[in-house]
């Protein structure tokens, strides 16, 4: 038990060692590096699973800040998030054994990769503000290195710049949050922070700063702008880690600070989480619906899911403040399950997009089509990921949404009237987001894998290598298994919910049948995915048998019928933007000021008709563009200070000194 943390620390050290050693081995060590990463991640995974069951253990390392040292702690919460991180890391490394061979600039990826894994693990293990922030910043910087791995592309450089900027803002906000948390006494280890009593304004400041700091890393709207640019810019296996796993580390920071370090929280803390979460969910998936770029679409879908998780966390906070302990446990379990589920299917989808990208050498879904014929295995695993992301039973995406709805349905008992107004609207928005996600993933899979090839590249695509396929098949199986055995999984989360909200789900064996998921009681609601799957298999087999008995078995392949007007060109299939047109017209015309302009040629002319669609991003236009202009303007003005005489500089210093003394004088009285 106590050996867990040292073991984790050693594994962590190995990862850092790998990152440094790559300089010696050079580019040939690619496969070996990824194998080692997969092994180390598997070991860490085992440690995390053990920690989830065993409980907290701590370790103090004698370096770091003088007098503080580095505090490490492995408790059920960090164990669970460690599970998410290392499960993703293990399978992504497996994928990269094959995929990494195609990398053009290996030395720009290889050293950063293990360091990235190590940094994410260290964030989860840190037990004092200083090591937490160091690990957090390391995670940001190393992932920035991976984002600009393909730096010859100007778009990637711009994405890297924006990412670095937003990461800095986020870290600064977190720095501030921890400063307020530690208070004037300056006890930076988490135990001291938990003990401290803070005034209300300080608590509120912590909430705000945490939402900015962790929220910007997770991709909460309006702090999401960097995410859809940076995640797709990295090589696909790194995109999978950033989108599927790093955003979860940000959620961990949110949970750790709001549920654990802050102590008891007032009910209204739920309000900002619920509002930003639901807005993020709906806007994220609407953005995703409008994307043509495969990886960008997936990145926006990540934003949607982060919104869903944030709503669940907000509900848990509201229930905890209202002393509805079981409901709080249900909401928190839903959030944690969705963390795991999203990481699995998003890893799968990003790895699949890597396979598609490598096979067809393009990332525009309007150039694809018919890939199910060329990449049969990838197509089916990708379909599994799409179905999970569209929250379809019996896969895993559905389970967490189902639990979240169950939590919403008991919320009329919350004492605060304001929350009773907000929560049904939030529930409606989540329902809308789920339906939009289904539409979005029908579009993604249908345009990319089904139909006819829209370009020669897509027509000549080749199936990817065995390692990549093994990783994707593993993830697809996990998507199925976590969907089927959610009840067992939810029960394993009891230590986490007990520690954070003081309650847990009722024992799941008491349900109406084995493996039933019963959040409250079986009279209230239950969901049994294995049985449901069994019923579906039985009825499908019965149908197949009946058809086999009764129906004609003759089959004749011929040209497509298409209502008697078969179209020769594959360009006549609906394109990605064509598929999204109804949604664009109904939703985006208001939110994104989407316009479709059709220019028809004069009758008799041979010019083609042109359809031009324009979109504007409201968040960028109203928030970022003015901020950017203001910063540039201020920088211009401040430029003048750079060319002053020494007397003037001394004068400034003097004035500043006086000001500080005045502040201290006021503080003392």
């Amino acid at each position: 038990m106590t050996a867990l943390l040292p073991a984790a620390a050693i594994a962590f050290a190995i990862l850092v060692g790998l990152a440094l050693a790559i300089g010696l081995v050079g580019r040939r060590g690619s496969a070996a590096l990824y194998v080692l990463c997969a092994v180390v991640a598997a070991v860490l995974l085992a440690i995390d699973i053990a920690a989830l069951a065993v409980g907290a253990s701590t370790l103090l390392l004698p370096f770091g800040l003088p007098g503080t040292g580095v505090h490490l702690r492995l408790d059920p919460l960090s164990g669970f998030f460690g599970l998410v991180v290392n499960l993703g890391a293990c399978l992504t490394s497996l994928f990269a054994i094959g995929y990494g061979r195609h990398e053009s600039d290996r030395l720009r990826v290889l050293p950063f990769y293990p360091a990235f894994l190590a940094a994410m693990n260290l964030v989860l293990l840190a037990d004092d503000a200083f090591s937490f922030l160091v690990a957090w910043e390391l995670m940001s910087l190393v992932s920035w290195g991976l984002v600009i791995a393909h730096h010859r592309n100007a778009e990637n450089r711009a994405a890297g710049y924006l990412y670095l900027l937003m990461a800095n803002v986020g870290t600064m906000a977190l720095l501030f949050a921890f400063g307020v948390l530690a208070g004037a006494g300056g006890g930076y280890d988490f135990d001291a922070i938990r003990q401290l009593q803070r005034p209300v304004w300080a608590q509120s400041l912590v909430l705000l700063m945490t939402l900015v700091g962790a929220g910007s890393k997770a991709g909460l709207i309006p702090l999401h702008v960097w995410l859809p640019l940076a995640h797709p810019a990295a090589p696909s296996h790194v995109s999978a880690l950033m989108s599927g796993v790093m955003t979860k580390v940000a959620i961990y920071a949110l949970v750790r600070i709001l549920f654990d370090l802050c102590g008891p929280t007032p009910w209204w803390w739920a309000v900002p989480l619920l509002l930003t979460g639901s807005a993020t969910a709906v806007l994220g998936v609407l953005y995703a619906m409008l994307q043509q770029n495969l990886k960008k679409l997936l990145a926006f879908s990540t934003i949607e899911n982060i919104g869903v998780i944030t709503v669940a966390l907000g509900l848990a906070l509201a229930f905890r403040a209202g002393h509805m302990i079981v409901a709080a446990a249900v909401a928190l379990t839903a959030a944690l399950l969705h963390v795991l589920n999203h990481s699995l299917f998003k890893n799968l989808l990003f790895l699949g997009s890597g396979a598609v990208l490598h096979a067809s050498n393009c990332d525009d879904i309007d150039q694809m089509g018919g890939l199910i014929h060329r990449l049969p295995v990838t197509a089916w695993v990708f379909l599994t990921g799409c179905a999970a992301a569209a929250a379809l039973p019996p896969l895993n995406g559905f389970v967490s949404e189902w639990m979240l709805f169950q939590a919403i349905l008991v919320s009329p008992d919350i004492p605060q009237a304001l929350l009773r107004f907000i929560i049904p609207a939030v529930g409606a928005l989540l329902a809308l987001a789920a339906a939009l996600a289904a539409s979005c993933f029908v579009r993604l899979f249908g345009i990319t894998f089904l139909g006819r090839a829209r370009s020669p590249a897509a027509a000549d695509a080749r199936e990817t290598d065995r390692f990549s396929l093994a990783a994707m098949i593993g993830l697809a199986l996990l998507c199925g298994l976590t969907g089927l055995f959610a009840a067992a999984l939810a029960e394993r989360l009891a230590p986490v919910t007990l520690a954070l909200v003081g309650g847990a789900l009722p024992p799941q064996q008491a349900g109406p049948a084995p493996l039933s998921l019963t959040p409250f009681s079986s009279a209230h609601s239950s969901y049994n995915a294995p049985l449901l799957l069994l019923f579906m298999v039985i009825s499908a087999s019965l149908t197949g048998w009946g058809v086999h008995l009764l129906a004609s078995r003759r089959t004749r392949r011929t040209a497509a019928w298409d209502c008697g007007y078969p179209d020769a060109s594959p360009r006549l299939q609906p394109s990605g933007s064509g598929f999204a047109q109804p949604i664009r017209r109904l939703f985006a015309s208001l939110l994104f000021r989407a316009r479709d302009d059709v220019t028809m040629p004069i009758p008799g002319e041979m010019d083609p008709a042109v359809l031009r669609t324009t979109l504007s991003d409201p968040v960028w236009d109203t928030l970022y563009a003015p901020t950017g202009r203001a910063v540039l303007w201020a920088a211009d003005r401040l430029n003048r200070i750079q060319y002053l005489t020494i007397r003037q500089y001394l004068g400034f210093t003097f004035v500043l000194l006086i000001l500080l003394l005045v502040v201290v004088a006021i503080w003392q009285t």
Partner: protein, 321 residues
Amino acid sequence: MADLMHALVLQGGQMFLVLVLAPLLMGVVRRIKARLQRRRGADLLQPYYDLWKLLRKEVVPAENASRFYRIAPYVIFAAIWVAAALVPTFASGLMFNWSADLIVIVGLLATARFTLALAGMDVGTSFGGIGASREMMIAVFAEPAMLMVVFTLSMLAHSTQLSAIADYLILQPVGLRISLGLTLVTFTIVLLAENARIPVDNPATHLELTMVHEAMLLEYSGRHLALLEFAAAIKLLLYVSIFICLFFPFGMATGAPAAAAILVGVLLYLLKLGIGGSLLALGESAVAKMRVFRLGEFLGMAFVLGLLAVLLLFVTRGVRG
């Protein structure tokens, strides 16, 4: 053991009944519509003949149809059949009920829709793609609206199990409630939209630019088409049954019912189905089909009314206690 047998018989009977009745309901609706248009109309059993005919015909897939195209009809049929087996028709407290609740039924129907939309895109024709795109647009409104209905009823009954909701509505004097009224409107619109009925889509149309459901089936033939048509019929029966179960559950056998109660339940169910089918035919004959882009307002209204019903419940709950 006897209990288990009893439950199995009830559940099996329900699944069989759904299978047998679905084409008949289709036939009744078509017949009444024909009469309203002063036509004689086809035989009541015509849908059965059609299915049989399709089953005996050869399958003619397009050359580039993938394996997904051939598997999809079975997945769709199974998902809808299982969903239909979960809805109490003549008796509540079915055996399968504790494996899934109303939200799961919505999820199963979403699975069927997801598969059907993809199947429509598989061959890569313009009609199939347009159909899939429009079907998903309709679903974007209809599915959340349906979830709002689920929210309202499960908050009233303190359960998301359909059986428990039916029991609650039978046994408790609910009376007239504004939220139930709003829910009725919402659910009616969802029923029309999900089953491709007028004014959302025209079930009788074919070879028309505005078709939605038919456009996705265009490339299907033979046994595959038979399965998809059959699945559509079961889906209609499923929605009418949910309608009956939620708003007119009286006479349904509850608990561990006696044979007589079951008989009454079945007869009443048949009667209610007949009335439901007639109302559907009447309604369809009375209105015209909408333009596709008007659907946003129509279905959006359903969604907003559903949300209003939920909000009312949330707020009044606080007032009472």
